[in-house]
């Protein structure tokens, strides 16, 4: 569903993403884990076609991101990091706008709207302007908009940011269920969230993939080393941050 091959992205002199490759298949939830500035959002933005890669090939649901951006966008639901929404629009009108942009109309639009409203529990705010919704509801509106066209691929950039602990728990459960039929890639810097939901972890630091491993295998490795999973990952990031030659 998602294929990233040797992708590189620079911002001026800064190398934001450095020769990254990975795949995500349907029915898989993959967590992108890494510290702030590691390159998670840049990668998701390239997957969403908002940014163009300087080198490498990105394919989403069989569409090349460079040559077929519209095909990619039709195949994915994307919740950006800042989840910027049209503030003055009512929630129901915003969802209808996004649905229509994806080519939904009539009964299909009504049916998908009912589904996302129920799934994201938006019944209480449908007639409200987005600017009058709480942070938690705004986040849910963003998720509903990302899912309204029933995309096979879902990208969520820091989706639990700003949610309270109960909302986080419910949301993670929702992502888990979503992963049964979709390819889900979500970024976070909270390890417990990644471990709770993901089948696989992609650890990224300074634009490079440090680890691409199933969560179960990570647990196994940590247990074998007599360490917690947190300690194992911390060690991995620390080792990657060591300048060459130090500790040799």
């Amino acid at each position: 569903m998602i294929s990233v091959e040797h992708v590189t992205k620079r911002y001026g002199a800064t190398l934001a993403v450095d020769d990254v490759s990975f795949r995500v298949e349907r029915g898989e939830v993959v967590a992108f884990l890494g510290p702030n500035g590691a390159g998670k959002s840049t990668l998701l933005r390239m997957l969403s076609t908002w940014l163009a890669a300087d080198a490498g090939v990105i394919t989403v649901a069989g569409h090349d991101a460079q040559r077929e951006p519209l095909g990619v966008r039709r195949s994915l639901g994307y919740l950006p990091e800042h989840n910027a929404l049209y503030e003055t629009m009512r929630v129901d009108r915003f969802l209808a706008f996004v649905g229509r942009m994806h080519g939904l109309a009539g009964e299909r639009l009504a049916q998908r709207t009912r589904w996302v409203v129920e799934a994201c529990q938006l019944e209480g705010v449908l007639g409200k302007k987005i600017q009058h919704c709480s942070k938690g509801f705004r986040q849910r509106v963003g998720v509903a908009a990302a899912l309204i066209h029933d995309p096979p691929v879902v990208l969520l950039d820091e989706p639990t940011h700003g949610l309270d602990p109960l909302q986080v728990a419910l949301f993670l459960e929702f992502v888990r269920a979503l992963g049964k039929e979709h390819a889900v890639l979500f970024s976070t810097h909270v390890l417990s969230e990644a471990v709770a939901v993901a089948d696989r972890l992609l650890v990224i630091n300074r634009g490079r993939i440090l680890l691409d491993s199933p969560v179960a295998a990570m647990h196994e490795r940590a247990r074998a080393g007599g360490r917690t999973l947190e300690a194992e990952l911390l060690e991995l990031v620390r080792a990657a941050q060591q300048p060459a030659g130090v500790g040799a």
Partner: protein
């Protein structure tokens, strides 16, 4: 082969995207009250300018109205266009918009048509003036229709380059100031006094005359006001507006690289 097919948009799909963006944009303008306030303010101002002239001259003629309006519009139209892209960038909704299945040109046209519709609403609010003139006498209806056509063309051009400057700016105020300056350059380069000053400064180049002939909006607009609808004047507005719209789409595409 299939890749190329999947990216091809049918005219219906293309215009459907344009229509959706335009409808959202219009709704946002009325929701925020900007459209209502701007239209009422400009209608009152334009009508009072006309009435003042009308009572002074006592003629059933709209030419003074059409002559005065460009200066007023050089302020009003940048106020309409400044928010088109600068606001999307500032609020980061541009990322939402351009991760929907839409081409930059569709979004550019949608926003442009919405701004043009708001401007059309203002023009419609001035229609009681020709109605009043018809009640009082027998004005030249052909000249009035041609004058309004000139105003539409004038607004179409100003909104097109205003949209481009909004796409280049990160801030609405910067977009407003630059659009106003460029707008005044388009208008003032056709003013006799400005032409004389520039010709005097650069006598060898005849810069003022050159700019009036090749740049100023007042020359082709003036033809409409005089009731003359010529292909060259129409081409001036259509080609320049088209160029600015195309350039806006290019700028937005470049921003994502």
């Amino acid at each position: 082969m299939s890749a190329a097919h999947s990216e091809r948009l049918s005219p219906r799909a293309f215009w459907s995207g344009v229509h959706l963006v335009a409808a959202r944009e219009l709704g946002a303008a009325f929701d925020s009250g900007i459209a209502t306030i701007a239209t009422i303010a400009l209608t009152l101002l334009a009508s009072s300018i006309f009435m003042n002239e009308f009572f002074l001259t006592g003629t059933v003629d709209m030419t003074p109205f059409f002559d005065l309006l460009p200066l007023l519009l050089a302020f009003f139209l940048p106020a309409l266009s400044m928010r088109l892209w600068a606001e999307e960038k500032k609020s980061r909704t541009i990322e939402l918009l351009f991760t929907l299945p839409i081409r930059p040109l569709q979004a550019v046209l949608g926003k442009y048509l919405a701004a043009l519709a708001l401007y059309g609403l203002f023009l419609a609010c001035t229609l009681p003036i020709p109605v009043m003139l018809c009640a009082l006498g027998a004005p030249d209806l052909g000249a009035i229709a041609s004058g309004y056509l000139g105003l539409v063309a004038f607004g179409a051009l100003f909104l097109a380059f205003g949209g481009l400057l909004s796409a280049l700016a990160r801030d609405q105020i910067v977009a407003f100031v630059t659009s106003t300056l460029v707008g005044f350059a388009f208008v003032l380069s056709g003013e006799e006094r400005a032409v004389s000053v520039l010709d005097g400064l650069f006598p060898a180049l005849s810069l003022g005359s050159f700019l009036r002939e090749h740049l100023s909006v007042l020359v082709p607009y003036g033809e409409f006001v005089r009731g003359v609808v010529r292909l060259s004047a129409g081409a001036y507005f259509v080609l320049l507006s088209g160029f600015f719209l195309w350039a806006t789409a290019l700028v937005l595409e470049r921003d994502r690289a």
